[in-house]
Amino acid sequence: MPSTRFTYAPAPESRSVVSLRPAYGLFVDGEFVEPRDGSMFTTASPSSEEVLAEVAAAGPGDVDRAVAAAARAQRDTWGPMPGKERAKYLFRIARLMQERSRELAVLESMDNGKPIREARDVDVPLAAAHFFYYAGWADKLAYAGLGPSPRPIGVAGQVVPWNFPLLMAAWKLAPALAAGNTCVLKPAETTPLTALLLAEIVQQAELPPGVVNVVTGAGDTGAALVAHPAVDKVAFTGSTEVGKAIQRSLAGTGKRLTLELGGKAANIVFDDAPLSQAVEGIVNGIFFNQGHVCCAGSRLLVQESIADAVVDALKLRLETLRLGDPLDKNTDIGAINSPGQLAKIEELASSGEAEGATRWSPSCPVPERGYWFRPTIFTGVAPAFRIAREEIFGPVLSVLTFRTPDEAVVKANNTTYGLSAGVWTEKGSRILWMAQHLRAGVVWANTFNRFDPTSPFGGYRESGFGREGGRHGLEAYLDV
């Protein structure tokens, strides 16, 4: 196979736009405060293992303070405020995010390990767009078609993951605030920094104290938040395992819950698909954000007649991907977010070999420091293999084949998940037929991993319930 690798001079984005403090407190009632019963931990860059800052791990008392501030603000300021005033605050946040977009993008890339190109072109603009979209809903809730007199639920406890730290915070905060709720946000342990920068933006936007609170910490902090009796609504994005534990723990509490959990999406390529476009879509589907994407297209279902051609083209394309410094503007594949996640990916990839699949990775060099995993393709995968059933949450693609549309549907739906699916074909009627039969909350046709604030996103089955985005996204935050 001829190598088509070009050489590129490094083009690193400057870190100088980010001014990191040595230590960050919790954002409670409009101010950054020291933890009272919590402790401090560090967050590091997964690409260099360099410690970026110390961050507070909120204890139960800290969570209680934040929830109390949110409840006060909901009752006294944010709840009674006319929707058109709330809207203007959210428009302000959207604008401030746009103004500080470079800073947010660089910090996201540093703390998460994702390529700056993705943070800059996807995470940050989409996060700002989300605030802009929901800002406009704040004074139009009665027209959302959810009920004649929608009311806020109260205090929302929101726990977000490390794969899209800022974007997931925006997905949670924007609709909740537009609907008149106040929020306590718990960012992931390994990626707290952009949520704290967002808290600064909230300060700059002069939101009333307590409307948005950020409590950093690990699973304990999240559990304390979810369990707090004054939290009326819980929104969680993360693993199916933790989601189930949260659903179980909320039994009998009457709290409202939405869950956005794992996935094992099928990306289905028919023999009439535009091949090079499909190959780009497959790469974007599974290698975007190092595969740390709940809706990642981790199962490639390719029609048997073109399977060899697709896999060959895919390998050729993977040889051109550049893995390395996330801040380099040429980088395609960044660092794996944490050593724990790397170990999980390695374990599952080993199981693929042990169960008899054929493993292939491009020959790209891997930096010495940091956590890295080469893009990996498994062929000869049977549906029963762990790599075809379990969410890997890493840059690992399992290739399976099918002969007929019916078989593709059966194989695609043969999972306990149901978050997303992809269909590649030039035939419009087939796209819609497939979309009808796939049990998944989002179906992309001739594209993948595309998001928009107007477009509802969320899962079927064990991928969770509730939708984020669009008119539907308001429902989770309103009593109707």
Binding site: K244, Q247, A251, L261, G428, A445, F465, G470
Partner: protein
Amino acid sequence: MSDAPKVPATPGELAAVAVPPPSTSGERARLAVQKTYKLFLGGAFPRSESGRSYAVRAANGAHLANAALASRKDVRDAVVAAGKARGPWSAATAYNRGQVLYRVAEMLEDRRDQFAELVASGEGVTHAAALTTVAVAVDRWVWYAGWADKIAQVAGSSNPVAGPYFNFSLPEPTGVVGILAPQESSLLGLVSVLAPVLTAGNTAVVVASELRPLPAVALAEVLATSDLPGGVANILTGRTVELAPVLARHRDVDALDLAGAPVDIEVELEQASADNVKRVLRRDATQGAWDAEPTPRRMLAFVETKTVWHPIGI
């Protein structure tokens, strides 16, 4: 089955009881033909596989009939039947679903007197009051039937995404829904929880009111003669505390309606539901008032929103 409860009525006792009251029309009293109350499962009317039954009493304590005492196995069989019926029912056109459901209302209307008898004796209300309740139940079924081809328009959307895609969202049925029917309101309550689930395109496994199951069995007979495909609605009679946990734990049940859940096992049912991330519709403060006008809420609790990105290009 060793765990069968005491069954008070022997066949001898049963013969002495008349439901409906013995017909005395005509020249001389004639011995009424009594009905065996059975389960409704996969479109058929089997007895419980366990062979058990239990005595159903009127509000005044009089023995009315024996109902089948469904077992855990009956629940599992019903879930299988509902699972098989799911594909065709959810794929039926909305217009067709609406017509089938409207047909149910027609059949109900025909049998208003029979239902009024059962409601009056079971709930201890006057025949006139029961007739009113039955009328509300029939009208409610008509109300839902009319929703079948409107939910997608009301709950769906086209989404103006920033890119060359036609992006739209549609509600789709969640799948197999377990329903614990209200305990007090034996017909109107049941209709109020079953109709929205079916209208939204789901299939259902219903545990009828434990103490007042007879209207549910009569409703099954209506469903069976209304072109509703077998397995779309399955109705079990028996002990809710025994059957509900089986539904809550079952991995092929996609959602659970707790309308008639006994208070002391409600938390346990919610917890068990988490094992496969079931959608759970809890009881709420308003649900007791089954004669209140319904809203689309109970249908929307059992749909999933699917969003499709369809490319635009030449």
